[in-house]
């Protein structure tokens, strides 16, 4: 990295943070601090919802995922527009009418205090840990690739986020989101443009797309009913619907984004903006990965994209084997490039088919080589991380982009990390203040006191996130553990909310007991059954709804009246 890169990166990050803190300073009321005084326009809400969801991993991992296994991941977003429509039609009007600060406040007015506390606790537990990972994941990759001190990267990002989130509250978070998202979109568009410009002269955009398609990187839609297939239209529509509904409807880090709208219409337009724009945006990021794959057919890639780890491994006892792998990689790169050139310059369909078959055979050889690389790395160090797809995009950025643009792209990654972290800290501080401090504190307190408490609790969660991110490095497979933790809790939380909205006769105690029993059962199921953890979203949700109905019917006065299952959501 050149000094110009550092200048661009720091000026972008600190400039946005300072602007956010300065322009929103001095909130005197809790409503102003936690909901931005209901002053946010739909565009700000739309970008804020988008920035909250898009973490650094979105921009670091997605192109690598597409590079390695194609664009099928986009199907995971098919359930999101439907979920956002339901949030607009059902969740949002109720939150606005009750004028709640947090989603969990609604649970007290609908059920009782203990259900509210349970929902808030599940959120704090799951989101509190996940916020640490939001900071950890990009810091570990940037520290490996650029040699930055890991602890300093985590602490630096964390402290800047804490500063403007504590200072300006929800309005600062939403305003900074607007500019951070602008930097992200511009940066990714520039990276895309440079990648196209760097393709070989004999290869136009259409040829590059055909080449990616020939090697299976553009298979975006699968209608397969095979449960073993990871990404299909069906898992995207149904699994994605449950996941998105719980995320956008019952996760305070998103609920807080749209509750700050100047009107219900502004909030709805902001959410519907995401319903319409999210799939093209993800397509663009995944397509970037597919084109990177084509780029690295003609420009020699590293054998293993995590280069520092590779250099360490090949200097050990297995050095001759690593040298042999590098020789195989060199030969394979040349033969693949020749086959790809023959494919793009084929004079007729028959020649193209023959070249395509040759290319596919070389791609299979590449797959075998990568498997051998992983196996050798594990023999050299059984604890080695053999997944290198997270390093594909950042390798392209640091080795092929000009000075200044590298800094901008690193600002993209860090903007994404900071925007997600800020929204999460804002939500954690709000929930801790409203659902615990304000609920359990006796006597009246002034608005400025409540704002001060909220600031302190936001800072507290920021410190917890930094500490957890620093600790995360010491624990194996923690990221996956946190993802599993989220899936285990999300289903139960969504089940509570859907019961609240749609099954009128279920009251507080049955839903509370159901939620606890199902939560425990889901945890036991996780340790005893062998099913994909995403399914726990659906299982937890449906089990809570069903069990709460049964308990309500079994209890005294539990019979529903004729309006018990209304189309109209319940207040």
């Amino acid at each position: 990295m050149t000094p110009l890169d550092y200048l661009v990166m720091l000026a972008t990050l600190l400039g946005i943070a300072a602007y956010g803190a300065w322009s929103t300073r001095g909130s005197r009321s809790l409503e102003g601090y936690l909901q931005g005084g209901h002053s946010l326009k739909w565009g700000t809400i739309g970008l804020s919802v988008m920035a909250t969801q898009a973490s650094a991993i979105t921009f670091l991992s997605m192109p690598g995922l597409s590079y390695e296994s194609g664009m099928g991941f986009i199907q995971n977003y098919f359930g999101m527009p439907i979920a956002l429509i339901l949030v607009c039609a059902v969740f949002l009007p109720i939150y606005r009418r009750l004028q709640v600060f947090t989603a969990y406040e609604y649970l007290e007015s609908r059920f009782d205090g203990k259900t509210r506390v349970l929902g808030a606790m599940l959120f704090l537990l799951q989101r509190g840990l996940a916020t640490g990972i939001t900071l950890y994941a990009p810091a570990i990759i940037l520290s490996i690739v650029l040699g930055w001190p890991f602890d300093l990267t985590v602490a630096g990002c964390g402290i800047v986020v804490i500063a403007y989130t504590v200072s300006g509250g929800t309005r600062a978070v939403s305003l900074t989101h607007r500019y951070q998202m602008g930097v992200i979109l511009v940066g990714m568009a520039i990276a895309f443009g440079i990648l196209i410009a760097k393709l070989p002269d004999h290869l136009d955009f259409l040829d590059a797309t055909r080449l990616a398609g020939e090697l299976g990187k553009l298979e975006t839609v699968s209608f397969s009913l095979d449960p073993g297939e990871r990404y299909t239209v069906w898992t995207g529509l149904f699994g994605g619907l449950f996941l998105s509904l719980s995320y956008f409807g019952a996760d305070q880090s998103q609920v807080q984004r749209y509750l700050g709208g100047s009107s219900i219409a502004a909030s709805r337009f902001g959410l519907l903006f995401n319903a319409v724009v999210k799939i093209p945006m993800q397509f663009f990021i995944l397509f970037l990965g597919a084109l990177l794959f084509v780029f690295y057919i003609f420009e020699k890639p590293p054998v293993f994209f995590n280069q520092p780890a590779w250099e360490v491994a090949k200097s050990g006892e297995l050095a001759p084997e690593f040298a042999e792998l590098e020789a195989r990689h060199e030969a394979l790169f040349e033969s693949k490039r020749t086959a790809a050139t023959a494919f793009t310059e084929a004079p007729d369909a028959a020649a193209r088919a023959a070249a395509g078959a040759e290319l596919a055979a070389r791609e299979e050889d590449t797959g075998r080589l990568r498997a051998d690389v992983r196996e050798t790395l594990l023999r050299a160090d059984p604890a080695a991380e053999t997944k290198d797809s997270d390093f594909v995009f950042i390798t392209f950025v640091t080795t092929h982009l000009p000075a200044g643009v590298v800094g901008l792209l690193l600002a993209v990654v860090l903007c994404a990390a900071m925007s997600s972290t800020a929204a999460e800290l804002n939500a954690l501080g709000s929930t801790a203040t409203v659902d615990f401090y304000q609920k359990f504190r006796r006597g009246t307190v002034s608005e400025s006191h409540k704002v001060l408490v909220s600031k302190c609790l936001t800072a507290f969660w920021g410190v917890v996130a930094i500490a957890f991110a620093l600790f995360a490095r010491l624990v194996e497979n923690l990221i996956e553990a946190i993802n599993i933790l989220g899936s285990i809790f999300y289903g139960v939380i969504l089940g509570i909310f859907l019961t609240a909205f749609f099954i009128k006769f279920v009251r507080g105690t049955p839903i509370f007991v159901s939620a606890i029993l199902v939560q425990m059962s889901v945890i036991v199921m996780y340790f005893t059954l062998d099913i994909g953890y995403l399914w726990y979203n659906a299982i937890g949700c449906l089990a809570v709804m069903l069990l709460s109905v049964l308990l309500q019917l079994a209890g005294p006065g539990g019979r529903p009246n004729r309006n018990a299952f209304s189309r109209e959501p319940n207040l």
Partner: protein, 58 residues
Amino acid sequence: MGATHTVLTGPPPDKTGPPDSGAEPAPVFGRWRYWYAFAAGSLVFYMIVLTAFSRFFS
């Protein structure tokens, strides 16, 4: 009460009465149904385009 959602102004008026009071409920989709249809239609459009894209280039 009929359709209570106002398209470009503030939140709709509160529904009166407790949940089971028999007060006429506001429609779930209301006047926003066209915007919701637009969002749902965009999903269908994307699925068709992506399927065509996938078939054409594979």
